[in-house]
Symmetry: C2
Subunit: 380 residues, 2 copies
Amino acid sequence: MDDVYVLGIGMTPFGRHPDRSAADLGSEAIGLALKDAGVSRKDIEAAWVGHVYQGMAMGQRALYAAGLSGLPIANVENACSSGSTAIWDAAMSIRAGAYDVVLALGVEHLSSMFRGALAPDPTDIEAQIGLTMPGIYAMRAQRYMLQYGVTPSDIAHIAVKNKKNAAMNPLSHFKKPVTLEEVAAGRLIADPLRLHECAPISDGAAAVVLISRSKLSQYGSNRAIRLAATSLRSGRTEVGLVDMTVEDLTWRTAEAAYAQAGIGPEEIDFAEVHDCFSIAEALRVEGMGLIPHGEYVSRVVKGEMDIDGTFPVNASGGLLGKGHPLGATGVAQVVELVRQLRGDAKERQIKSPKVGIAHCRGGKAQGVEGTACTVNILVK
Amino acid sequence: MDDVYVLGIGMTPFGRHPDRSAADLGSEAIGLALKDAGVSRKDIEAAWVGHVYQGMAMGQRALYAAGLSGLPIANVENACSSGSTAIWDAAMSIRAGAYDVVLALGVEHLSSMFRGALAPDPTDIEAQIGLTMPGIYAMRAQRYMLQYGVTPSDIAHIAVKNKKNAAMNPLSHFKKPVTLEEVAAGRLIADPLRLHECAPISDGAAAVVLISRSKLSQYGSNRAIRLAATSLRSGRTEVGLVDMTVEDLTWRTAEAAYAQAGIGPEEIDFAEVHDCFSIAEALRVEGMGLIPHGEYVSRVVKGEMDIDGTFPVNASGGLLGKGHPLGATGVAQVVELVRQLRGDAKERQIKSPKVGIAHCRGGKAQGVEGTACTVNILVK
């Protein structure tokens, strides 16, 4: 079984792109990833394309726009984990020995296609009566506050941190830091979560070129970063479970990744996690066993998860700051891990990281097991 | 690299199911496949789920309904090749050594969700001015008639054959044979194609349990059938190419499958092919090099592709007779190959087949490279 490396990365600016199509955004990310990898179009043997709302044959349209023709292409969907599922599947094909050089693309023109919280599925009875994504995370935040004695203002520090980081990321949706006071003055979305604590509706694309170890030597690249583990699991939202502050699904997914990588949580230097809401970041980092349950928020308040802190989280700006074009998000996280591990992250560079972890999850709000979670571990 | 076998198959009745959900249909197919394979729910390690229009986290919903919990699940979309792409991806995971026992499900509740030919994508300018799927296949039929001197009535024999076969398949959408006269009296959809020559809008699901050779011995199953090849390629519709009766994409996909299986077209005993329209069956069988270009229709007229003919095609009833729930179609084809190779096809049983081939393709009508094609080869 061959090791898998990320050879090249590419990402469009995240934000509103009213004049561009998803294929156009996808094509740009592909072009950048190929250039960064130093491979040509004809070197790519297959592609997996993650998106949620972009309709039939999205991947075929994006690859064609990028000048790639005739390939095996599979479109994959796993809600907010669609892009990271594309990486999971693409990596599998290299491990299978089927291909040596493949592409994983995540893309979403969300601003034109969003049919989520605003118009929930009429068959989703729980969402119809208020159990939407903001509602779920607000409940979980309330429980977290009660259980661990933190305040809405403490949780808001997560948004402040991520928007500060985003301001240093030229590809971010939001380029302006916000103060605690500005977060507190924001519109209340679902108590205690306010506007700045909710991920925006973004358009964008991100792509990675994956390569087998055996082929890597041909490219002589010392910029390649090893994808030491990629895991995918499904489960349900924690609302209604024993303790809605504990992410069993996140743990099961991370546990599988640690086993695959042969790396424990104590060896991870930094993380990109799925902060669709401020509180979500706490639930994920704790869920992966990286910080003990109930400690995350107070440690963010102390600055430990800042870029120059002991355990930087969402140095890219996260979903809250960098933006959240659903299908693109999981790939963009890996793009950030690679930038950081290469030492290419410029003013938001973390000091000498060796091992990074990325976490995504998403799915149906309703009480079925409709959530997909992915964890990727990258090693310099 | 481990060989891949189909251990179990399951399929719901195809047709209109106004009172059932896609998750319910998917769950039924999964249950049948597990039972047929003789494996339990906990033996399944991962699943790939093909569908087109069923919305977010379809696979998670179907597996949960079937009592399967916590697994890695990826939803895959490739238009009418979605189900066969799920098989392609699932087989890859076994070849990767990642899993030994996996599930591929195809599912579609098309009657409730169809947003295709009736309401073409407003950005698809070619479809807006008439280049819909029926329009494309009608043009190709016209060209085929001109080039090879066959008549609409000759082509209609394909529909007569497939509906005759469907009448022997208890899971078919259509249970009634039609005569040539009935086809000719049908409503004209796009000249020369009439109603009976167009695949219906069906709901349904089909599932297969795939297993590695190394694990197979544990189950001692002599009913397992080897998946000797599974290939996927992308391309464009042939309209506007040099000769629209020649399916270059189908050939490239089949050629890759022949190479993978180490089996040439001359060794194939029977086929399930993507007869979304009557003429399509001719284009596919010729496209795969199984019959010389221009000969297929006249050989159907002679009865050569009947169940008791020299080269049976669509013994299941095909898309025209068995029905076409988009995501389920590619898996249902493999279900039929397995039934035939096991000798379990009852009154529609082909005599002692050893090697079967399945072909799917589908995608956007428009002039970009939006078509996905799959070919699976199964060997007894």
